[in-house]
Amino acid sequence: MLNLLGDFIAELRAAGIPVSMSEHVDAARAVQVIDLSDRALVKSSLAATLVKDGDHLPVFSTAFEVFFANRAFDSVADLMDGVEAQSPEGATGASGPGQAPGEGGGASSSMSAAELADLLFRALREGNRDDLRRAAAEAVTRYAGVEPGRPVGGTYYLYRTLRNLELDALERRLSEASLADQNTSDALAERLSRDEAHARIEQLKSEIEREIRERLVEDRGAEALAKSVRRPLPEDIDVMHANRDEMAQLERALRPLSRKLAVRLARRRRRRRRGPVDLRHTVRRSLSTGGVPIDLRFKPPRPAKPEIIVIADISGSVASFARFTLHLVHAISSQFSKVRSFVFVDGLDEVSQLFEGVDDPAEAVARINAEADVIAFDGHSDYGRAFLTFHERFADQLTKRSTILILGDARNNYHQAHVEVIADLKYRSKAVYWLNPEPTSYWNSGDSIVSQYAPYCERVVECRTLRQLEAFVGELA
């Protein structure tokens, strides 16, 4: 059965959102009781039944916009069976579905660049949604240069449109104009009008994005486009290849993640089985029962909190990964008896002191690059030399309770490996783990020498996403 809802759910699953069978049934039931002509209602109903995690909502939202952008469905049958529902006149390039007011196509070309800029400014100034929508449509027609049939996700069109609109200047103009209206000049008013302008510009951006997406759907169909705009969930973003937006998403995801992890670990530690019988305490209790030890008392379990030593490569390619791991480990440092961190490129430096007394690990992580002295020669990672330095200066402080985490891709730039150092570190400590941010298939290719170090590590773990990192750290504590 060709089933639009089914296709939509397949797309969600492909994007990584777990949708179970019973949730599918719920969604099918939900669309039977609601008014299908109300798109916002359809959207929130599907969200309520299919998505069970707030972090997944943006991905859902994108998929929904793509899938149901141009589809008008009036009956349940349309939604359950229809695939042909795309409007035939959509292909002419006019601005799509019924709710976009104003005819895009023909009229727009008559508008000059100055007029468009003027329209935009007025729309933003007054916060008029319809005008804004019209201006966005004009801007896309004029600047995006959408080429039919090209299998792209639209980021390039968006970039082209935004570049031509010179939004930064527009934003400045907006905030100055609104400030002039209020004829006050204190810092608060200034800041507020700046934020207001920024919010409006963001609104414009999302309008433009929507406009481009609608045109692409007309051009290539929802299923094909959904595949090109599909973005990974925050916990599945590859840390090493994240772009700036994704990096920001990761930053945001990291804080709740570390909090959750800390709660889980603390709970596990508290619930761990009790220690041996505490004789002294039991005898004391037995006095109230005439010397018969009815109520046994136990010693609290010995907290086996490991001491963590992080040695991280912070040279170019793997730097972001190292920062994330340092951030996470320090954010849950209450779960370890001690955390020390070292960073290296070809020299090595301790950075634990940066984290001391700092409330927010993100701040400390930001300072690492500026303050750590990690470059001894040419600034290319040299694992062997870094390990030698570490061994020389800190090896005597290792105990059987220390767990060493080494973060890096083991791309040694063909320097000497100094494997014997790692062997000695393993001997002195409880365990050595190696976290590698590269996919397993890249290991040992080129100048990567993971396999030389691997025999001396407890485990070498592929750690490309937050999900993998969380799983590993959870195991550790």
Binding site: V33, A40, L41, K52, E196
Partner: protein, 314 residues
């Protein structure tokens, strides 16, 4: 596909004589009803509440603290004239606190009063007797199920219980029934509305999530926040409400330890009204920021970013 209405299906399973009537006609009606009870909802909130009623499913409400998750349950209860039964979750919550407990003192009394003479029949009779509903202490969940007047069940901060305890909730959430080994299964006498709230301090189990509709309540948009202020703070001017909403939005974009919640915004608005302000000046903001922000480092950062000063004014 059979077009059996989920409510009818559930009513049949529960053995209800007739299908309980739906509570709301449309999401718009919900928005209106909630607004009458001073709760300003948005489209998502209204439509999920609507679905919860139509599909007879519980709603799991998640979001940052102080965005009106608990207030939603209260407002829904008020708007349909139902009693709110609240179960506050905490670590260590167990069956006897959440579901039911045998009133063993009363059972003891019954045994002593009866004094069985030792014959096996009498004993069996007595045993049957002391495990009757009469000796059952109902706790919130069972109470919500057995109630005959309209009720709304609120299971608050469900993320605080342990993973194992969550399982206690599953039967009641999907089947609206509670199994008591000595007594049998107690089925609901009606289909109550159920809200669960979570602050997302830990991942809830798949089983629980699957049984619920999911509603994420984030910080409101600037327009909605302004309307909330206007609705909840008597005597506030529209200009001031707008300004407050703007300041709070700007604060939320800063990287703070704890972003101001809606309830803190309302506190701040009330303070400014009491102080008799019509507009927020820099000095007022600096003097009263501690109502919005709860950490010294946050206050310092906000003072610096928003007011362009390096030190907060004491």
């Amino acid at each position: 596909m059979s077009a059996l209405d989920p409510r009818e299906e559930l009513a049949k399973r529960l053995g209800l004589l007739h299908v309980p009537p739906v509570r709301f006609d449309s999401p718009h009606e919900i928005q209106k009803l909630l607004a009458e009870n001073d709760y300003l909802s948005d489209e998502a909130i209204a439509s999920v509440t609507f679905l919860a009623d139509r599909l007879a499913k519980p709603v799991l409400v998640e979001g940052p603290a102080g965005t009106g998750k608990t207030a939603l349950a209260q407002a829904v209860a008020d708007s349909i004239g139902a009693r709110l039964i609240r179960l506050q979750c905490y670590e260590g919550l167990d069956e006897s606190k959440a579901l039911y407990e045998w009133n063993y003192r009363k059972q003891l009394l019954r045994i002593q009063a009866g004094r069985p003479e030792g014959s096996a029949e009498e004993w069996a009779h007595l045993e049957e007797d002391i495990f009757a509903e009469e000796f059952l202490l109902t706790r919130p969940l069972l109470e919500a199920i057995t109630a005959t007047d309209p009720v709304v069940l609120l299971i608050d901060e469900v993320d605080r219980v342990e993973l194992e305890t969550e399982a206690l909730l599953l039967e009641i959430l999907s089947e609206y029934q509670v199994s008591i080994p000595e007594l049998g299964t107690v089925r609901a006498k009606q289909i109550p509305m159920v809200f669960l709230t979570s602050n997302n301090t830990r991942e809830l189990s798949e089983a629980l999530k699957r049984r619920c509709l999911y509603l994420y309540v984030g910080y409101p948009t600037i327009e909605r926040e302004r309307d909330i202020i206007l609705a909840r703070v008597p005597g506030i001017s529209a200009v001031l409400a707008e300004q407050i909403a703007q300041v709070v939005r700007s604060l939320r974009t800063l990287d703070l330890k704890k972003a101001p919640s809606v309830s803190e915004t309302l506190d701040w608005a009330r303070t400014l009204v009491v102080l008799g302000r019509e507009e927020i000046g820099e000095q007022d903001a600096a003097d009263t920021l501690h109502i919005l922000l709860k950490y010294q480092s946050d206050i310092e950062r906000a003072t610096k970013e928003l007011l362009g000063r390096s030190k907060p004014v004491a």
